[in-house]
């Protein structure tokens, strides 16, 4: 039986481990050179790889995952630095690109563990050099030993806001402000549910407490106004505090982010139906608790199938591999499957509380000024999308996202709406006066990221 696993983050590693233990040798493809996913991404070999320094409280977990990753490489058809740009569920084929060379991988069953990226809300000035996602700020520090600037402000909501600010301050960066768009009251209401999270909740409190104890400026319930810039860089950040007063800080870099969104393009191309998850406020591919989908032979695990975080991804990877084995007629350890199901169910309850404590600020996106750049790829502004929702729009109003894309090019650029899609949906829905789940979602298109049009097939390379 030919099995393929896409992704070598927490979900992919545990999935492969389970498959190998059952005697299989899956094809294992990952876009990064050395696996680990984004959360446990290792720096290039020339840099210090000390786990305690890089991963903090997560050092043991990261080291365990890396050890398994390295142990599995020789026991699989390991293909690092390999980008899966298309999946064809009818013929069960992955189309890949490795250092400029195309190839195909045929499978009987595939497990997609494609991870997540930051979910953002545009802010006037957000295309200035010096503005990055929160995840980018963390990757710069973790894998390159660099801060995104010398005086750094962080703006957003959710666990990553506090974690990255803490990591920067600990590394000696000048963190000039940590601005949470979620009000204290919203977080307090979710606090009871967060207690279920035990250690995860405790770590979050620790980061916030540490930042406060070190006199770092923290403001909650803020409304972003603009990122200021001159020439090729950021010079400051303006916001309104919870009482509506104008505030400002001088800075040369800003990290922004409001939680994560699944990188689910391959699931989309595989024909797996999606649903709008109101708690996460994300479109997610449909799967059962074990990771099965309605498309035979196609399984999902990890954040690419809905945001759950790294610990959940490890459980989900192992569980989806068991489901795959079971469906293939193998005898699987029923007690282990049941244990994973219980752990996944419990983790799901904590996730609900976490999402309630840091909801996506749809109102901030819907309320953006017309002249704010919305789509970075196409240099398209908020007002251009809003105009497509008007009755008098020349082509007729756009009632859903893909029509709006065709009319305005929103999400048609080279990132395919990964960056602007979430905010664009809020803007269009608000302009149409309908709920955001009523306007659909941007469909995925191959290649899921740009590839060179000149890439030769493998047999053409001497």
């Amino acid at each position: 039986m030919r099995i393929a696993v896409v992704g070598a983050g927490p979900a992919g590693v545990r999935a492969v481990q389970t498959l190998v233990a059952a005697g299989h040798r899956p094809a294992w493809l990952d876009e990064a050179p050395d696996g680990g996913g984004r959360i446990y991404q290792r720096p290039p070999a020339a840099l210090n790889r000390d786990a305690k320094m890089l991963y903090g409280f997560e050092a043991k977990r990261a080291t365990a995952l890396h050890d398994t990753l390295d142990a599995m490489k020789p026991r699989t058809d390991w293909r690092p630095d390999t980008f899966v740009w298309h999946i064809r569920p009818g013929v069960k084929r992955l189309q890949t690109l490795h250092r400029g060379v195309q190839a195909v991988v045929d499978y009987d069953a595939v497990l997609l563990c494609t991870g997540a990226m930051d979910r953002v809300v545009p802010v006037p000035g957000w295309t200035l050099p010096g503005v990055t996602t929160m995840g980018a700020a963390q990757i710069a520090l973790k894998t390159q030993g660099c801060g995104i600037g010398s005086r750094v402000a962080f703006l957003g909501s959710g666990p990553l806001l506090w974690l990255v600010a803490y990591q920067y301050a600990r590394a000696g960066a000048d963190v000039v402000a940590v601005l949470d768009t979620t009000s204290f009251a919203t977080k307090a209401r979710a606090a009871f549910g967060l207690l279920r999270g035990g250690a995860t909740f405790a770590k979050g409190l620790y980061y916030i407490g540490w930042l406060r104890a070190h006199g770092i400026r923290i403001d909650e319930g803020v409304t972003p106004v603009a990122i200021e810039g001159a020439g090729s860089g950021v010079t400051g950040l303006d916001w309104r505090d919870a009482r509506g007063r104008a505030q400002r800080v001088d800075c040369d870099a800003v990290g922004i982010g409001w939680g994560l969104r699944p990188e689910a393009q391959l699931a989309d191309l595989a024909g797996i139906p999606f649903r709008f998850d109101a708690i996460q406020h994300n479109w997610v591919p449909e799967r059962d608790l074990a990771g099965r989908t309605s498309v035979e032979g196609h399984y999902l695990a990890g954040d690419g199938a809905g945001i759950g975080g790294a610990e959940v991804a490890e459980l989900a990877g192992a569980r989806a591999a068991l489901a795959l084995l079971q469906d293939a007629g193998a005898a699987v350890d029923a007690a282990e499957a049941a244990r994973l199901d219980r752990a996944l169910t419990a983790a799901g309850r904590f996730r609900v509380a976490l999402e309630r404590a840091s909801p996506y600020p749809a109102h901030l996106a819907a309320g953006l000024p017309d002249d704010t750049i919305l789509c970075r790829c196409e240099g398209l502004r908020v007002g251009e999308l809003r105009a497509a929702a008007a009755e008098e729009y020349p082509a007729g109003r756009a009632p859903e996202m893909n029509r709006a894309k065709a009319f305005t090019r929103t999400g048609m650029g080279r990132c395919q709406g990964r960056v602007c899609g979430a905010a664009a949906a809020e803007i269009l829905a608000a302009a149409l006066g309908v709920p955001v789940d009523a306007i659909g979602r941007l469909r995925g298109q191959p290649p899921v990221k740009p590839i060179p049009i000149v890439a030769p097939p493998a047999e053409a390379v001497p």
Binding site: E31, R38, P43, P44, A45, A46, L47, N48, M53, M117, D118, T127, L128, P129, G130, V131, T132, T133, G135, A136, I139, A140, L141, T143, Q144, G145, C146, G147, I148, G149, S150, A171, G172, A173, G231, S232, G233, V234, D252, A253, E263, I373, R376, C377, E378, G379, G413, R414, C415, R418, V419, K449, P450, P452
Partner: protein, 91 residues
């Protein structure tokens, strides 16, 4: 935008060029790090005239850090390791 080297900053030096100008970086830098820690300020200009860009996601998804490397063509600066002698142009 100027990246600030906070730790592990004593690695062997490598030399590359940006638009023909020499630029010093360190072994293990990505092209994005090499250029933005080395004082390039930005990586590309928006095709739509709205100003300079210097990457955004650093995980190969946003495509906003494209530069051109002689002999390789267009690459994502965040996902490409800098190498001694590389000749780079803004994207």
């Amino acid at each position: 935008m100027k990246l600030r080297r906070l730790r592990d900053a004593g690695r062997p030096r490598i030399l590359l060029t940006l638009e023909g100008e020499a630029l010093e970086a360190q072994a293990g830098d990505t092209l994005l790090t090499a250029l933005l820690a080395g004082g390039a300020g930005h990586l590309r200009d928006s095709e739509f005239g709205d100003g300079p860009r210097a990457g955004f996601c650093l995980m190969g998804a946003c495509q906003d850090c494209w530069v051109v490397v002689e002999g390789q063509g267009r690459v994502r600066a965040c996902a490409t390791l800098a190498e001694d002698g590389m000749r780079v142009k803004r994207g």
